[in-house]
Each structure stands twice: as structure tokens, then as C-alpha cells.
Symmetry: C2
Subunit: 275 residues, 2 copies
């Protein structure tokens, strides 16, 4: 089923998504953006991207691509705890030597409180935590907030561990052109007619059919200011009779309905699912 | 009512929020972050921050601060179309001279398609569009994607106008410690008990009382992974009887309910509301 030459993931090499991709056997190809991961997927390849973070919430670029790319479905989800370290260029001998700290803006926010006791002020946001590690490897007296994995990849010295201000878990999804009907949860995306109670009436169908929602979120349609599409996850899979009935019912009261498939949760620790 | 020394806004000077703040008379004080605007507000001052963008959706830092700061309420909303320009350091004589383009990552995304026909590739994300203008003013052969206002403030040359890929409107709010009960719309934030249909039952009250929702959004609680709070806006004000009844009803079925007040829409073009 899986093309071993086609596991596309949100890079660069050393990213958190790269770590998650390591549970799959086969050639892994980093892409610069989530959109490029979606655009790379062929009939026989898969993609791996983050979809939600317990601190920052859903990842908009992933949602917007799922909504836009009708032929791409969600097959698995994988949760991973994100642990940040402060890693430095080998020129740094003490914390006082650090002139600049690179990281993704989210990671900077997530470590800010912990790092504030060391009086660092010069944080520079870059594309990703692994890009930050790359920069820190090239510039004297610089540091990165990144994963241990990225720090090792770029030969940085780890001088502080567990610098997250609070627990931080990211949920990743495996996407492909294959619609799966088995699994623990199902994802749909939809728009509703612009009239009172339209969203309420959709949720009513789930409630009346005894289906538990696990996620509801809204995203701007962009093309029309202040109009939103909704992203919903719920328990059960497409083969369940009550799910079938519900999807039929909501098809009549939504203006656009995209069924993104059912999916199973994979455990991060276990390796080589596809071997 | 308004302390003329206390109009705090999301800076730096030259930001889109700064432009909106100009409709108010009195001393305006830029703050580096949205959180700092919230933290600066005293009994007699106001704050101005963005809350939603028609392309990017709600502004998370604003929502999270509204949720966290119980004593801060929403008094007005103001919509403004965001028009981006490409502005250059005076050293730049033609598009080919541009070596680097600074901007906020959102603005880079919003102008990417339009700018792609000029073959620019070296975009560097910085804190804000006005910071980008500041950088471009200091560095030869650099440019910024920013507002005309910021370009003029930093003496840049505007070489391309209307570079947004699509229409882009930002909604700003005026916040203070005063709960307002008059206005066109009302904002509430709440959490629901962790049981099936909990959100549905809240929306049911609005539907049954004939109140139109204009916005629903969810944000992670952070303290507990995968638990969310909801942010709701609806038509009507707190003095309306049906709003009063609805708020009483949902108080019983939410686990935490924060009423952020009713508010009126101000027109951007009109100046000096408070004079």
C-alpha cells in the first residue's frame, strides 16, 4: 500500500514531524511547508503533518489544506509530547555568552517564562525549531530552542533541558489519497447556509444519533470575509450505522460537506508500523 | 470617561492598530505585544487590539487575554481594510536591487502570490509590518511589505501598491475595565462540562430564544491538554430581555461563564469619537 519512496513530512530534517516520521519504514522526504507536503502526495505516497497542539490549538495550514484538497484523507493520528531544550553553538561556554536565541515563535512563547529567569531578551523567530538549530550551528554565540533530536543533528551543546513552561503535546496526522472507513474517529469539514441556527442544527443531528464530538473549530473561508467553515471530529467510523445515518442527515443541511475519512490512533513509541 | 493619557495600542508606532487608534483623541502609547496592552489598562484608560482578520481568523493572543482577564471588557469594534504596499529603502532604484523583503509572516503569506511574478524569494519574517518598515529604512537594498502609513512614517519609497492577494479586513476592539450593556452585539466565553452534547445544549438556548450567533470559536485551555474554551458573539445586548434570559440559562449548563460585555461598531473613517 505504501510507496517506500514517498513519505513526505514537514521538514526540515530534524523537525518534530521528522521524529514522528521515523516510526514508518521507507524513504522520508522533508518539505519546506505543510502545503508542499499536501502537494507532493501521489497515489502511492503518504504525508505527515501536525494538526493540533495542546497549547496553540489547531494548525491552520493543515486544516485549510484538508479543506481545499478534496482527494486527500486522514488515515492515522499520532500524539507526541514536545520537549524543548536550549542548545548552543560550541563557542558558548556559559549562559552569559549567548547573544541571540533562535526558534519558532510558538516555541519562544512556550519557553519564555522558564527562560526569563536567565535574563535573555534577544529572541529571533525563524521558520521552525530545526531551522533555529541550523542557524545556531553556524553562528558563534548563538543558541536555539529546539528538540534534543535537532540539537544532536546539528552538533549543538544542550545546556538546559525541559524548558517548556507547561506540558505540550502535538497531534500529527498521516494523510493519503486513500479514504479509510475503519478507525476510532472520523473527520468532516463543512459550511452551513447563512441563516440562524444553521450550526446548531448540524450539532443536533450528532446529539440525536448519540455521537460524541471530540473537536469543533472554525476557520475563515478567506474568499468571503467573515464567513467560516467548520472542522469536526467525532467518535466512531464511517462503517457504523449511526455515523452513516448522521452523515446522510447533515448532507441535507450543510451547504458543502467534505468527509475526510476515519482514522486510528498510532502509538508514537512503537516503531515500524508499515514494515 | 477616557483618560487622555491612556490609549494603549498594539505597536510599534506605524502599526495598523496605530492607524485605528488615531480615531481617538488623547495620548497614544504603543505596546510591544497584545498582552502588554491588556496589562497596561487602568481604571481610566482603554486599549486597542486586533481580534479577527478575514484571512487568518481570530487573533489568539487577544482571545486568550480576554478569557484570562476577568475585569477587562469589550466596548467597541472597528473594522479596517488592510492594504499592503511594497516599500523600499531609498537605495533601491529598481525591483532588481531588492535583496531582502521584511514583513510579518501573515503579510508575507497574503502578498506571496502577487509578488511571485517578480521572482522575489528572500522573505524574512519579523515581529510586525511596522518593524519590517523600520528595518527596511535602516538597511540598503531591502524592502518591507507594510501599510502606506508605516512606509511614510519611515521614509520608504512605495513601489507597488495593493499587493494583497485577496481582500483583507481586520476587526479591532476597544477594551477597558468598564462593562458595557448597550450595543449591537455581545461577547461571552465559556467552558462546558466534559460530557456528550454539552456545547450543543448551550447553542440550543440561543436558538430557542431566537438569538443569532455571529461567531463561534474554540481555543485550548492549555492547562489541560485537549480541553477547549469557547468564544461566542451574538446579536443583541445585555439589556435585551431575551439575552438576559439566555445568559441565565447557560450559566447553569456551562462550567465557567465570562460575560465580556456588549459593544457597538464604530466606523473607521469618522474621527475623534471621544472628543
Amino acid at each position: 500500500m505504501i510507496d517506500p519512496n514517498g513519505i513526505y513530512y514537514l521538514g526540515p530534517k530534524g523537525s518534530f514531524t521528522n521524529e514522528v516520521a521515523e516510526i514508518f519504514e521507507g524513504d522520508k522526504i522533508p518539505k519546506r511547508t505543510i502545503t508542499e507536503v499536501f502537494n507532493s502526495i501521489t497515489d502511492n505516497s503518504i504525508g505527515i503533518v501536525p494538526i493540533e497542539n495542546s497549547i496553540e490549538g489547531p494548525v491552520h495550514e493543515t486544516l485549510d489544506n484538508l479543506f481545499k484538497n478534496e482527494e486527500i484523507y486522514v488515515n492515522y493520528e499520532i500524539e507526541k509530547e514536545i520537549k524543548l531544550v536550549l542548545a548552543v553553538n560550541p563557542s558558548v561556554n556559559s549562559l552569559n555568552d549567548i547573544e541571540v536565541i533562535y526558534s519558532h515563535s510558538h516555541a519562544i512563547n512556550e519557553a519564555k517564562e522558564t527562560l526569563s529567569k536567565y535574563n535573555f531578551t534577544n529572541f529571533v523567530p525563524v521558520e521552525s525549531t530545526s531551522t533555529a538549530a541550523l542557524y545556531a550551528s553556524k553562528q558563534k554565540y548563538s543558541a536555539a530552542i529546539c528538540s534534543e533530536y535537532a540539537a544532536n543533528l546539528y552538533n549543538l551543546k544542550i545546556i538546559l533541558r525541559d524548558i517548556n513552561d507547561s506540558i505540550n503535546i502535538t497531534r500529527f496526522i498521516v494523510i493519503s489519497k486513500k479514504l479509510m472507513e475503519d478507525g476510532d474517529k472520523t473527520m468532516v469539514m463543512f459550511t452551513v447556509p447563512h441563516k440562524p441556527g444553521a450550526l446548531y442544527k448540524v450539532l443536533e443531528k450528532f446529539y440525536n444519533n448519540n455521537i460524541n464530538l471530540t473537536m469543533i473549530y472554525s476557520r475563515p473561508l478567506k474568499s468571503i470575509p467573515w464567513q467560516y467553515y467548520f472542522y469536526l471530529e467525532f467518535e466512531g467510523n464511517i462503517k457504523d450505522n449511526k455515523v452513516k445515518v448522521t452523515l446522510e442527515e447533515i448532507r441535507n443541511i450543510t451547504s458543502m460537506l467534505k468527509i475526510k475519512g476515519s482514522f486510528t490512533k498510532l502509538q508514537y513509541q512503537v516503531s515500524n508500523y508499515l514494515s
